[in-house]
């Protein structure tokens, strides 16, 4: 895994230099880091218990005491927002990482090995790609006898691994007959080593892009589940904020401050993650690397 290590250890300064040159990805990075900080520092930023007994007057617009106002019973929405960031990012990053590991392993190996194993796996991948994702997620969450953020994460992984696997497989397949792969084979490298030491470093930037999209999709799916009232346990999230906003009449009351922050946050985090992709090509493509 020397190649991966090499890419990962690529010094911090040159990484920052690449982001600095790519203004789009710099914007993305700043957005993502901001949300990560909001999530990590949640206990220090939230002055009130987000779901406990009411902490102030209800239906308050943003003020100094309540930067995002309060909801129908007086919960502080800023506190809900920062704790909600945790759930979104936890589920998103965990699911993204798991899809990444699953998709890279299955996709690269399958594409390299080829043959019947590959054919069979791709049949399954195609079926998963065709099944309607959100309805399937809803179905699984409703019927599975387990609950909580981890179950949500796993269900999202099960329903969304196929896309990344297919992309990685297509890449890997295009490398399998390349001379340098044959050279590695002639030197005695086995399928696993060829897949991860020889092929993977070449498609690292695509793998990273895939990870960003998986994270975005996972954050969206989690929010959707919470919005439908399939909340991941007894927690607040951006999705549950919108769920309560809808069911408690935020629209009729015109309480935009209850609705705007969680949705805008979902849009911004997705935007930030996708924008970061513009730096990955330069970071992980050896041809573009500046030494």
């Amino acid at each position: 895994m020397g190649g991966t290590a090499m890419a990962l250890l690529y010094s911090f300064r040159s990484v920052m230099a690449v982001f600095w040159r790519n203004k789009k990805s710099l914007v993305g990075l700043i957005i993502v880091i901001t949300f990560v900080l909001i999530a990590v520092l949640a206990p220090y930023e939230s002055p009130y218990n987000p779901t406990g007994f009411s902490t102030g007057p209800a239906w308050q617009p943003p003020s100094l005491a309540h930067p995002m106002g309060t909801d129908y019973v007086g919960h502080d929405l800023w506190s809900q927002f920062v704790w909600g960031a945790r759930i979104s990012l936890e589920v998103g990053f965990l699911a993204g990482a798991m899809v990444q590991i699953l998709g890279n392993t299955l996709g690269i190996l399958s594409g390299y090995i080829g043959g019947k194993v590959d054919d069979g796996l791709m049949r399954i991948v195609d079926i998963f790609l065709t099944l309607p994702t959100l309805p399937l997620i809803i179905l699984l969450i409703v019927f599975l006898p387990f609950h909580g953020p981890l179950v949500v994460t796993l269900v999202i992984v099960i329903t969304s691994w196929a896309g990344h696997t297919r992309n990685m497989r297509a890449q890997s397949y295009s490398y399998r007959e390349r001379d340098f792969i044959l050279a590695a084979k002639a030197s005695g490298y086995g399928s696993l080593r060829i897949s991860f030491s020889e092929i993977f470093p070449n498609i690292l930037s695509l793998a990273m892009a895939g990870m960003m999209y998986s994270i975005v999709a996972a954050i969206g799916a989690e929010a959707a589940l919470d919005f439908l009232g399939l909340a991941s346990g007894n927690t607040v999230s951006w999705g549950t904020m919108l769920y309560w906003a809808q069911s408690e009449g935020a629209i009729i009351n015109g309480t935009w401050w209850w609705i705007v922050p969680p949705g805008l946050a979902l849009a911004l985090i997705g935007f930030g993650l996708v924008m970061m992709n513009y730096a990955f090509d330069e970071l992980f493509n050896p041809r573009l690397r500046v030494l």
Binding site: K24, L136, I138, A224, L242, P262, G263, L266, A267, G270
Partner: protein, 321 residues
């Protein structure tokens, strides 16, 4: 082949999941219905068991056979929250609304999105790109149901120029009259825009990327060398070739459109199967949830089939068996 496989997978999922639940879901529903004041005859209870071939005393393959036989009769079970209406009746009532919303949303996002992407690829200067690309990425990152939320709070609750919920006003009589049609359109505009704006962002990005790839191909270079204008190259040469992958993309995106539609219909309390599934989820109506999943799958398969036909019609290299 793929379509059959997907359908079989959906059937297996629908068949297996209720059987993984702890306890006996049919018994639970029966008990709850009786507690809710319904009087259930022994025949009715027997009928509920027969649906889905649910019978723990029979071997699993017999249950599956019974289940398939029920399905072939168009029997998807009885709803629990809308008892005693059948699932297939409920779906048949709601499905036209969803097809109406989704097909218009796809049409008004895919067609302009593809054209915008096509011409944006011809315009490739840094300044345009540095505004255009982030903007599109931002638009396609917006959760569509949240956009619907904003539309409702602004255009419906505040400005009162659009209705807050439903598919048509209760002052009109459904039928082929102008008042009804206008009311339907009035109610559909905001949901359609919520779906279409976000989806269009994705279609533009995809078309533009495909176009940029195609514009580097040899045949485009030849056309350029022949002195054809940029506009003509974009329209006739590269555009036609980039269109094909975009149709594939369209088929793939149908899953996301149907999924997003669940949330958008819920926001607008729109009487399609998306909202129906949200209702089913909150009411723990298992038969309804299972039936809706099957219908969503079939809808996507039909969309795929149509994309295939469109593809074959446009691509001379492809022939359908």
């Amino acid at each position: 082949m793929l379509l059959t496989g997907t359908f079989v997978a959906a059937l297996l999922i629908d068949f297996t999941l209720p059987r993984l639940m702890p306890g006996n879901p049919v018994q639970t529903e029966v008990t709850n219905l009786i507690a809710a004041g319904f009087t259930l005859s022994p025949e009715a209870i027997k009928g509920m068991y027969a649906l889905y071939g649910y019978n723990p005393n029979l071997p699993i393959y017999v249950q599956f056979y019974d289940y398939i036989v029920q399905l072939l009769h168009g029997n998807l079970g009885v709803s629990y929250i809308f008892f005693p209406q059948s699932v297939s009746y409920l779906i048949a009532q709601r499905l036209p609304w969803t097809i109406f919303l989704v097909s218009i949303a796809v049409a008004v996002s895919w067609i302009p999105g593809t054209f915008i992407g096509m011409f944006a690829a011809g315009k490739r200067n840094a300044k345009f790109d540095s505004i255009f690309t982030p903007l599109l990425n931002f638009i396609s990152s917006i959760p569509n149901f949240w956009l619907g939320f904003l539309f409702l709070i602004f255009f419906a609750a505040d400005l009162k120029i659009f209705p807050l919920f439903g598919a048509y006003s209760n002052t009109v009589t459904p039928g082929a009259n102008l008042a009804f049609i206008l009311s339907v359109l009035h109610h559909a505009i905001l949901p359609i825009l919520s779906l279409a704006i976000v989806a269009m962002g994705g279609y533009v990005i995809h078309m533009r990327n495909t176009m940029v790839g195609v514009m580097g191909d040899d045949f485009v270079l030849v056309a350029r060398a022949k002195g054809l204008s940029n506009r003509r190259i974009v329209r006739t040469y590269a555009g036609a070739n980039a269109l094909l992958p975009n149709i594939t993309m369209l088929a793939i995106s149908m899953g996301a459109v149907f999924g997003g539609n669940i949330l958008v219909e819920t926001i607008f309390t729109y009487p399609g199967i998306g909202y129906l599934s949200a209702v089913a989820v909150s009411g723990e109506d298992y038969s309804l949830i299972l039936g809706i999943f099957l219908i969503f799958t079939i809808a996507i398969l039909v969309a795929n089939l149509m994309a295939d036909l469109l593809y074959a019609w446009l691509d001379p290299r492809v022939s359908l068996i």
